[in-house]
């Protein structure tokens, strides 16, 4: 069933602030096996000009995808999440996410398309810091496969 086109352009209120912790960044870096010292050693990060350890580029997805859940699970949208796969993902950074950042995400439905019976949903998440400055924007394309006939 095609999704409601009136959701295009809909915005969702900012999420509860997420405080980025050094140890959470370390845990994430270790989980992907990445030993870059910028993720774990404040002195190494400072030598690169960062105020504290920084997060790997895709770390912020954990926050933006949770925020996109507001859209995905909106009962009025009618998306069947059991049929959803992640199509595309893109990040555009103003600066890297740093330990100590307090981040909020504002999500917006960018587009809704129907392609070959599949629903294609583009959600944008703007991530702001405590000062209200944009840190990174996440673009997430979700594809809900067509329900099987019969």
């Amino acid at each position: 069933m095609a999704l409601d086109q009136s959701f295009v352009g809909r915005t969702y209120p900012p999420t509860r602030p997420y405080e980025v912790g050094r140890e959470k960044i370390r845990e994430f870096a270790e989980s992907i096996g990445d030993t870059n010292p910028a993720y774990t050693d404040p002195a190494a990060a400072a030598a690169l000009g960062h105020p504290d350890v920084i997060a790997p580029p895709t770390f912020v997805f954990a926050i933006t995808f949770k925020a996109a859940g507001l859209v995905i699970e909106d009962p009025q949208l009618g998306l069947d999440y059991t049929r959803v796969v992640h199509g595309d993902q893109k990040f555009v950074y103003v600066r890297p996410v740093c330990a100590g950042d307090v981040l909020t995400v504002s999500s917006r439905v960018e587009s809704i398309k129907s392609l070959a019976g599949n629903d294609v949903l583009d959600v944008r998440g703007d991530v702001h810091d405590a000062a209200g400055e944009l840190v990174v924007t996440a673009y997430t394309k979700l594809v809900a496969r067509a329900a099987e006939e019969g």
Binding site: F28, A47, G49, T58, Q89, K90
Partner: protein, 144 residues
């Protein structure tokens, strides 16, 4: 921000050092915990088969996180990445055989974007089992 590669030293076609990243069930469980993505298709074989998959598959975001390491290891400073996008084209199947799978990543400078901003576009190719698992995989990076 201090990338260790100079803009002047790269040309279109400059290859980044290729890397191969192992993917084991253990890694997927760790990644689930670190990322908060506990979808059972990434750790529970019974569930994966029930929903029509051949076996447990890696998180797409795990593959995305590994692929960009070719770029961040090259620049030294992960903060040099200004844009990074991928399309998830094929699943990475991770068998519970003590070996798992691997993701082979190659990358090259595709375009010098801005001489003043010293930005380049890097195109990445990520394969598993000989087949491409990411499409349209591109990063924009600031060099020194």
């Amino acid at each position: 921000m201090t990338a260790k590669i100079a803009y002047a030293d790269v040309e279109v076609g400059t290859e980044l050092p290729a890397q191969t990243f192992p993917v084991t069930r253990d890694a997927l469980v760790r990644y689930a915990g670190a990322s908060g993505d506990f979808n059972p298709i990434h750790w529970n074989e019974r569930f994966a088969v029930e929903v029509g998959l051949d076996d447990v598959i890696a998180h797409g975001m795990f593959t995305m996180a590994e692929a960009i390491r070719v770029v961040t290891d090259w620049t030294g400073d992960p903060g040099a990445v200004r844009e990074y996008g991928v399309r998830f084209t094929r699943q990475v199947v991770v068998p519970d055989d003590g070996v798992g799978a691997s993701i082979e990543v190659t990358a090259q400078v595709a375009k010098k974007l801005d001489d003043d901003a010293r930005t380049v576009r890097v195109d990445l190719v990520a394969k598993s089992g000989g087949q491409k698992v990411l499409g349209m995989s591109r990063a924009v990076v600031v060099l020194a």
